[in-house]
Structures are given as structure tokens and as C-alpha cells.
């Protein structure tokens, strides 16, 4: 599952030339993303989907 998730994310980087070291660094960052997103999904539960203009205070 984890490797599929990483592969899906990496597919979004299509067209960007990256070294093996780049990929390892980016995959480590993906782990941070996943951890943060799990928390934020729970935190955002029940909050309306955004439908406002770009200014965050409106």
C-alpha cells in the first residue's frame, strides 16, 4: 500500500528529471506529507469545502 501511494505521488512528478538521491529525499518528504495529511483529514472532518475567493479573511 505504502509503495503504491509513493508511486502515485511520483507519477505526478512526470517530466521532472531527478537523481536517485533526489528521489530518496523526496520520498522521505512524502512520508511527512502522509503523516500530516492523516492528522489534517481528521481535523478538517465536517468543515465545508472551500468556495471562497483567494483572500483568506473573507
Amino acid at each position: 500500500m505504502a509503495s503504491e501511494r509513493v508511486a502515485r505521488r511520483l507519477a505526478l512528478l512526470e517530466g521532472v528529471s531527478l537523481s536517485q538521491a533526489d528521489l530518496e529525499s523526496i520520498v522521505a518528504e512524502f512520508e511527512d506529507f502522509d503523516r500530516a495529511l492523516r492528522e489534517l483529514e481528521a481535523f478538517a472532518e465536517g468543515v465545508p469545502w472551500p468556495s471562497l475567493p483567494v483572500q483568506p479573511y473573507m
Binding site: R8, R9, L10, L12, L13, G15, V16, S17, L18, D22, S25, I26, E29, F30, D32, F33, R35, A36, L37, E39, L40, E41, F43, A44, V47, P48, W49, P50, V54, Q55, P56, Y57
Partner: protein, 479 residues
């Protein structure tokens, strides 16, 4: 008055001297250039210095004054701008090798307004590449060094601007902020830095980091000077889709010292972990100063803020990645390595994940809206520690932004995440003399309130008048 004396004058005093023709713009600009040339080899605060253009602009400013034409407080005053802002005829690089030789043919809105105000552009200040960083060490042009200790970072990404102001190379500089790039380097360099409400100052003609979080900021050695610098550049601009209509800016004229009854909230829970004792001690003393002036300091709790850092970073990562996709595909190796990896990683965030993050952002925003029903300002130490060593590398600024919990990163990032006005002002120093900053944040469009309380604090303390030892050594060689 010696050149050193001229470099030590703040903007308000300098403006008075130039208007009265007690000093000429040419004298002031030559003094700034002399100090720049003397210190730049140690600071690396500038990418491009406009020696001849600045001298010509100063000469024109003096001619206008001789003809009775006075454009306002910035007339003939040397200022610097972060190298994210386009300057017509003057190289604009973004701190990147991708644009190492690019010369725009138009000014950014910021520079347009500065020139209209008669300001003299000294040069373009160094930064983390395209503003993506918190240290000002990840630049194609090398790291910026902190004037207080050359082995330490100036902070980022507007470190070149804050180093310049701290070193007395012009009384005023302009930068940007997406995460903390105005307030963090202000704290580390011991200057006053202000990030206005989102949309108050046009971003037209500058490189975008994250559209929904990019702000223009002002740096000076006092809040009074910051207010004057803000007056010159704030205002509606239809070319920036985030720009807001507002009445004529007059933050300087409306500065006052009245803090009696102002309610200042302190997020105590965030100060329990990871804040250096010297920083905490300086902050507590600052709070006592505000209390003594009549402010009502209270503890507040906004638990939603613990999600602010990760919300900010994920928003920035997705928007910045998208903003850079063309160059990432065409010129990946022309980026600084750290920046390339960070931007490419942002491309891996899906649209539905980005929307989830924006829902979290909305919830945090509403929590702050409710909090500002009970307090007028929020106060905290700007950073959890003093400026780290350059040798710690780009991650050495201490940002653990993806770590959930009451970490200081959330206190640093929430103002720009939500578009709230915020400042950092000097409030102390550690045992080595390294500056410590206090952050004040107000509700949306309460920019004047933030500036007023910061101004009142500065009138009651001496922290804003210290200068780096590097400059003190320079003063020994007065001309």
C-alpha cells in the same frame, strides 16, 4: 556629520534632514554605498548593487529639492529591495541561477511606488532561492551572514534585507513573506519587521512563492520608520488579484502610544516546549513592559493552532510546486538542490489533498476569528531560539513543521497562513548579545493597532537602538 553618522540615522530623522536640506541625498547615498562596500564582503547581503543608478537617482532627488519639488518622506532616501521584486534595467535573479543574468524591462508595483516617492534603490538583497527557505543560505549567490555574528544565519528568506538594515546600509528595506520570511529574519537580525494584512501591498511584479500566502513586508530599525515605509507602498493595485481597496494609507500619522486597555493574548501552551530559556525570559520581561504601560495581558488557548505549521507547509508546497513546474521540467539542475527537491515534492500533493488542507486552514481561521473576539493582539516570542549557526545547514533553522504538537513553528507560520498583520520587534538579547524578537499579531486589517502597540513598546525600551559589534568596529574608522 560623518558618513557613519548618516548611516545611523533612522528614516524619520533622515527624511527631516533631507527635506530641510541639512544633508543632500547624494551625501546620504554615498554614505550608504561606502558602508555597503566596506561590509558586503563579510555580510553577502546583496546580489546586485546599483552604484551608478543610485548616484544618478540621488543627483536627481537633489535637483528636484533645489527646484522646490519634494515627493515626501522617502525623497532621496536610500532603500534596498529583496531580489524577488522586478527592477527595470537592474538585474533581478530571485536568488537563482535560472535568472542569474535576467534584467526586467518593468518595475514591480513596489518599486514603482518607491521611485514615485523619490526613494533611491541601492540594490537587490540576497535571499533563499525564490523565497523558499528560512535561513537565506540557499542562494545561488551564497549565504547571507548575520551582522551580529558572521557565523550565524540572518534568517530567511528575507535575510539580505534584514542584514542590510541591521548593518545600517540604508534605513529601510522591503521583502516578502510566505511562511515567516519577514518576521524570522527580523528577530534574528534585531530589526523591526512588519507583514501587513494580506492584500494591503501589491505583489505585482515579484516572483510568486505561494499565491494564497505571499505578502510584501517592510524592515527598518524602528516601528516608526516601518510605518513610514509602509505608507509609501500600501494601496490598491488591480494588477494583483489579492489586492484590497483601502483608504489612503497614513500609518505614520496615526501612530500613538496608547496601549491602556489593549488586550494581549499569550498562547502559553506553545511556550512549554522547545523555547530557549533566554528567549522566554526576554519575552516575559517584554510582557511586563506592556502591562506596565496599561495593556491587559492574558493567557489564551487556541488548540487549533497546533495544525498551523503543517497546514502552511502543505499549502506552500503544493502552490510553489505548481508555480515552478515549467522550470522543474526544463531546468531542474539550475535550482539549488534543496529547493529543487522541496518544489518537486510539492508536485506530489494531489488536488483532493490540497483541498483537505484548505478545509483545515478554514477551521484554523475561524478559531482565530473567535479568539479575536476576546483579545486585540496575540503575542509570543518570534522564534524559539536565537539565530542558529550557518554550519547547521538549510534545515538548521529549527523548523519541525510537520511534527504535530504545540511547536513554535505553528506560532511562526499562522499569521501568513491566515493573512493576519504581524510584526517582530527586538525585545532582548542572549548572553552572547544575539537578538531576540517579540511577535505581535492582530486581527485582519488591524495593522494600525499592531504598529501602535509595537511603537509604544519601543518608546519604553532600548532594545531597538542596539547595533551589531561589526558596526561598532566600523564606527572606529569614522571619516
Amino acid at each position: 556629520m560623518t558618513r557613519s553618522d548618516l548611516c545611523e540615522l533612522g528614516l524619520v530623522d533622515l527624511a527631516r534632514q533631507i527635506e530641510s536640506r541639512l544633508v543632500s541625498s547624494t551625501e546620504v547615498v554615498e554614505a550608504a554605498l561606502a558602508r555597503l562596500d566596506r561590509l558586503e564582503g563579510q555580510l553577502n547581503a546583496f546580489i546586485t548593487v546599483a552604484h551608478e543608478q543610485a548616484r544618478e537617482a540621488a543627483r536627481q532627488a537633489d535637483e528636484e529639492l533645489a527646484r522646490g519639488v519634494y515627493r515626501g518622506p522617502l525623497h532621496g532616501v536610500p532603500v534596498s529591495v529583496k531580489d524577488l521584486f522586478f527592477t527595470a534595467g537592474l538585474r533581478t535573479t530571485g536568488g537563482s541561477g535560472i535568472l542569474a543574468d535576467w534584467v526586467p524591462d518593468e518595475d514591480s508595483a513596489l518599486v514603482e511606488r518607491l521611485r514615485a516617492a523619490g526613494a533611491v534603490i541601492l540594490g537587490k538583497t540576497n535571499l533563499d532561492e525564490f523565497g523558499h527557505g528560512g535561513t537565506s543560505t540557499v542562494s545561488h549567490f551564497g549565504p547571507v551572514h548575520n551582522p551580529w555574528n558572521l557565523e550565524r544565519i540572518a534568517g530567511g528568506s528575507s535575510g539580505g534585507s534584514t542584514a542590510a538594515v541591521a548593518a545600517g546600509i540604508g534605513p529601510l528595506s522591503y521583502g516578502t513573506e510566505t511562511g515567516s520570511s519577514v518576521r524570522r529574519p527580523s528577530a534574528y537580525c534585531g530589526v523591526s519587521g512588519f507583514k501587513p494584512t494580506f492584500g494591503l501591498v501589491s505583489r505585482y511584479g515579484s516572483f510568486r512563492g505561494a499565491w494564497s500566502m505571499d505578502h510584501v513586508g517592510v524592515f527598518a530599525r524602528s516601528v516608526e520608520d516601518v510605518a513610514m515605509g509602509l505608507d509609501a507602498v500600501a494601496g490598491y493595485d488591480p494588477r494583483d488579484p489579492a489586492s484590497v481597496r483601502q483608504s489612503e494609507p497614513s500609518y505614520t500619522r496615526r501612530l500613538d502610544l496608547h496601549v491602556r486597555g489593549v488586550r494581549i493574548g499569550v498562547l502559553r501552551r506553545f511556550l512549554d516546549e522547545g523555547v530557549d530559556p533566554s528567549v522566554l525570559s526576554a519575552f516575559e520581561v517584554a510582557l511586563r513592559t506592556l502591562s506596565a504601560a496599561g495593556a491587559e495581558v492574558v493567557d489564551v488557548d487556541i488548540p487549533e493552532l497546533k495544525y498551523a505549521a503543517m497546514t502552511s507547509m502543505l499549502t506552500s508546497a503544493a502552490e510553489s510546486g505548481a508555480n515552478n513546474v515549467r522550470w522543474l521540467r526544463e531546468r531542474p539542475d539550475d535550482y539549488q538542490l534543496e529547493i529543487k527537491r522541496r518544489l518537486a515534492g510539492g508536485l506530489g500533493i494531489t488536488a483532493s489533498e490540497y483541498l483537505t488542507v484548505q478545509r483545515a486552514r478554514y477551521r484554523i481561521r475561524e478559531a482565530l476569528r473567535a479568539a479575536f473576539e476576546t483579545v486585540d493582539l496575540l503575542a509570543n516570542p518570534t522564534t524559539s531560539r536565537v539565530a542558529p549557526l550557518i554550519s547547521l545547514g538549510p534545515r538548521g533553522n529549527g523548523d519541525q513543521t510537520y511534527r504535530l504538537g504545540y511547536t513554535h513553528s505553528s506560532l511562526l507560520r499562522f499569521p501568513s497562513l491566515l493573512g493576519l498583520p504581524g510584526c517582530s520587534i527586538p525585545c532582548g538579547a542572549n548572553a552572547e548579545g544575539l537578538p531576540i524578537g517579540m511577535q505581535l499579531v492582530g486581527r485582519w486589517f488591524a495593522d494600525q493597532r499592531v504598529l501602535n502597540v509595537a511603537f509604544a513598546y519601543q518608546q519604553a525600551t532600548e532594545w531597538g537602538v542596539r547595533k551589531p559589534r561589526l558596526i561598532q568596529i566600523t564606527d572606529l574608522h569614522r571619516e
